[in-house]
């Protein structure tokens, strides 16, 4: 039987040849990141194909069909969340693979082409992440993609054409979804698969690079079963982590994209936090070259990434040191180490800036599905409950969102320099009589919690009834992280 197949295909000897490949220096868990990335890619392809069986790309159907997957598809939320977390896993594993190859010096001659293909694969995966982010067409998808398109459009010379190609119209709309879908589902995956094949073919041609040493290792391991076993263990761990994340932290889906909600603060995917941090760190206007102004945005979104990618692509030619042993190339190892620290630091700063922006935003951040969403049925309960409630806190919420939320923001976070936060504000949770006096008579020019705020708090006495004032104060004292007592109408009337 095997001979019959071998005679007609040559497959058996090809497989044997593949499995008996030498691993210089022996098998190692350091070598598992490439194959683990491949496993994550396979998971992405399978779950992605599954999602296209339900997903329909258009402004009228993208969000609706995504929600349908959550609500009416057997295993839908799980598979969708696997696709969501699989993307993160793929990027994390690729980064590890890239760093391992860098530190081992495995990009050096004769593996330059393999390295360049690898860097391109990394960039294509980031584009996959970026384009996939838009497809659910929720608030975050819309706002984040608008930022991405704006960044692409602000790059000198090629920018406008890039933005036109991505957006296909004067505003983001249904044609943009179709474009991103075509890029995410056909263009990039096909290119990616072809390049993965090339990456592996060149890898077989060169063989494994082995440990970072300059003498030929005496010990040789076999690809099968030694390295295959370690790769299998890593793949299993990768799979288990993706499954666990998909089960415990299902992908969040926010409310449907709403172009009129421009107050929404988008949160980028975590792997763009370093870029986001860099952008937040740079000042608006930096300097001018001739009459051409160079903004921090241009540096952060175009210059620094271009230099970074350029260095990665040309690394085998920039670092011409033929030695691979770590102690023979201290500058390179030190520089790599510092770069990793810098990227992690910027990422941490980016994450903190996102949190700060979200805390100051008027809302819309609570998902309708997935991690952080209220349990099913809560929507109806809330909708039915507010109409008949006599709870002063619930009644106060309506008063608050109509009159106060525009300055103090729906989450009580206030607006920096304009209106103070009410959440976590000791004055708000302190003496009720003082709070009532401020709401009654207004306030201006006071320093609140060590900061000054420019907007004038209008006097609400006469505009709101005492019972409404009691309700709204009860609401602000008992909402977010505040836990102070409710205020009664009698207390409001007692304050002059």
């Amino acid at each position: 039987m095997l001979n019959w197949i071998e005679e007609r295909t040559g497959g058996i000897s090809a497989l044997k040849n593949f499995l008996t490949e030498d691993v210089p220096g022996g098998a190692s868990y350091w070598y598992v990141f490439g194959s683990a990335t491949l496993i994550a890619l396979v998971i992405q392809i399978i779950t992605g194909i599954f999602l296209t069986f339900y997903y329909a790309p258009s402004a009228d159907t993208a969000w609706e069909s995504t929600k349908f997957i959550y609500d009416h598809v057997a295993g839908g939320p799980f598979l969708l969340s696997m696709h969501f977390w699989g993307a993160s896993a793929m990027i994390a594993l690729m980064t590890m693979h890239l760093l391992q190859v860098m530190i081992w010096g495995a990009y050096k001659r004769p593996r330059e082409i393999m390295w360049v293909i690898g860097v391109i694969l990394f960039l294509l995966t980031l584009v996959l992440g970026l384009t996939g982010y838009l497809l659910p067409w929720d608030l975050n998808a819309y706002a984040a993609s608008q930022v991405s398109i704006k960044i692409a459009g602000d790059i000198p010379i090629v920018g406008p054409a890039q933005a036109n190609f991505l957006q296909d119209g004067l505003q983001m709309g249904t044609l943009t979804i179709n474009r991103f879908f075509g890029i995410h589902v056909w263009l990039i995956p096909i290119t990616l698969l072809a390049l993965v094949g090339l990456h592996l073919a060149v890898f077989r041609h060169n063989g494994a690079a082995g440990p970072p040493a300059d003498e030929t290792p005496r010990k040789f391991g076999r690809f099968y079963p030694d390295q295959i076993f370690m790769d299998t263990v890593a793949s299993l761990v990768t799979f288990a982590v993706i499954v666990a994340l998909a089960m415990w932290l299902p992908a969040p889906l926010l409310a449907k994209a709403d172009p009129t909600n421009s107050a929404f603060v988008p949160s980028p995917a975590w792997y763009f936090f370093p870029l986001f941090g860099l952008l937040n760190l740079l000042p608006g206007n930096m300097f001018s070259i001739g009459s051409f102004p160079v903004s921090g945005e241009l540096i952060g979104t175009a210059v620094v990434p271009a230099v970074f990618v350029g260095i990665l692509l040309l690394l085998p030619w920039i670092d011409r040191n033929r030695k691979r042993a770590l102690n023979q190339r201290p500058y390179f190892v030190g520089f790599t180490f510092l770069s990793v620290i810098a990227v992690l630091g910027l990422g941490w700063y980016g994450a903190a800036s996102v949190q700060a922006h979200i805390a100051a935003s008027p809302g819309g951040q609570t998902p309708v599905r997935g991690y952080g969403a209220p349990p099913p049925g809560a929507e109806q309960a809330a909708a039915g409950g507010t109409t008949t409630t006599s709870n002063p806190v619930a009644l106060g919420q309506a008063v608050f969102s109509q009159n106060c939320a525009s300055c103090h923001s729906a989450n009580g976070g206030g607006v920096p320099n304009l209106a103070p936060p009410l959440d976590n504000n000791p004055f708000v949770t302190g003496d009720p009589a003082k709070v009532i006096a401020v709401v009654d008579n207004g306030l201006h020019g006071q320093t609140v919690m060590g900061k000054s705020f420019s907007a004038q708090m209008p006097p609400w006495k006469g505009q709101l009834t005492p019972s409404q004032i009691a309700q709204v104060i009860s609401f602000i004292r008992g909402s977010w992280s505040n836990h102070a007592s409710v205020v009664t109408e009698a207390q409001v009337k007692a304050v002059k």
Binding site: A59, F165, G173, T174, S262, A263, S406, V415, L418, P458
Partner: protein, 220 residues
């Protein structure tokens, strides 16, 4: 696997070399023709057409009659007046509810309005072309786009402070849309208004944000 004993042997005559060169060239040319034949129309098809990049023509939308009547009779503060808007999004036609901020003023206030907002009473110069001119002369009302000229958030009327306030970045404007404080670069944007045989109508204009000049991006 090729058999090493079996090797092509062809005479290296000039005719043979010329024949082989010819066939190689034909292969390359044919491949280029097919490649370009596919690539050119595909890439050309991805360039956004004039249709989708069209700024559109100004459209007149009737304002909600009840709300407008109430506005004309009683409004002392700026008031939201709603209307129904149809927007073409690629191959979709969407009907959405939209609103404008209506400001009603007494003759005294009108003088104040003119003094506050010279930008609304001058004929725009340069390349800015208003296909529908905004004429607020002596009609006693102004209609403002609800989109903040800073970064496109929706601002609110703060009755207590008697000013428009944008919740996103804190730009404030007077009742007449004059920019008071905050990061915006210009006052509130006007929307063309007309009243033909008792039907009040508005044209929706999307203006460029951030910049100090009022530049029309599209009519939707």
């Amino acid at each position: 696997m090729s058999d090493p004993t079996h090797v092509h042997e062809e005479p290296e005559t000039p005719e043979e070399i010329s024949r082989r060169t010819f066939m190689a060239q034909v292969t390359v040319i044919a491949g280029t023709i097919v490649g370009l034949g596919v690539a050119i129309p595909v890439l050309a098809g991805l360039v956004p057409t004039k249709d989708v990049l069209d700024a559109g023509k100004p459209k007149w939308y009737p304002l909600n009659a009840d709300e407008f009547a109430q506005f004309q009779k009683t409004a002392t503060d700026p008031m939201k007046i709603t209307f129904r808007k149809t927007v073409v999004d690629g191959y979709l036609m969407n009907t959405t509810d939209e609103y404008v901020w209506g400001v009603r003023m007494t003759p005294d206030q009108e003088a104040q309005f003119k003094a506050d907002r010279p930008d609304l009473f001058q004929v725009p110069s340069g390349e800015v072309k208003y296909e529908v001119p905004v004429t607020y002369e002596n009609i006693g009302i102004a209609l403002f786009s609800p989109i903040c000229p800073h970064l496109g958030c929706r601002f609110n009327w703060n009755k207590g402070a008697q000013q428009f306030l944008c919740p996103c970045h804190g730009s404030t404007y007077t009742k007449f849309g004059k920019h008071m404080a905050g990061p915006a670069n210009r006052g509130l944007d006007p929307l063309p208004f007309k009243d033909t045989s008792g039907i009040a109508q508005v044209t929706w204009v999307n203006y460029d944000q951030t910049v100090a000049d009022r530049v029309i991006v599209s009519y939707t």
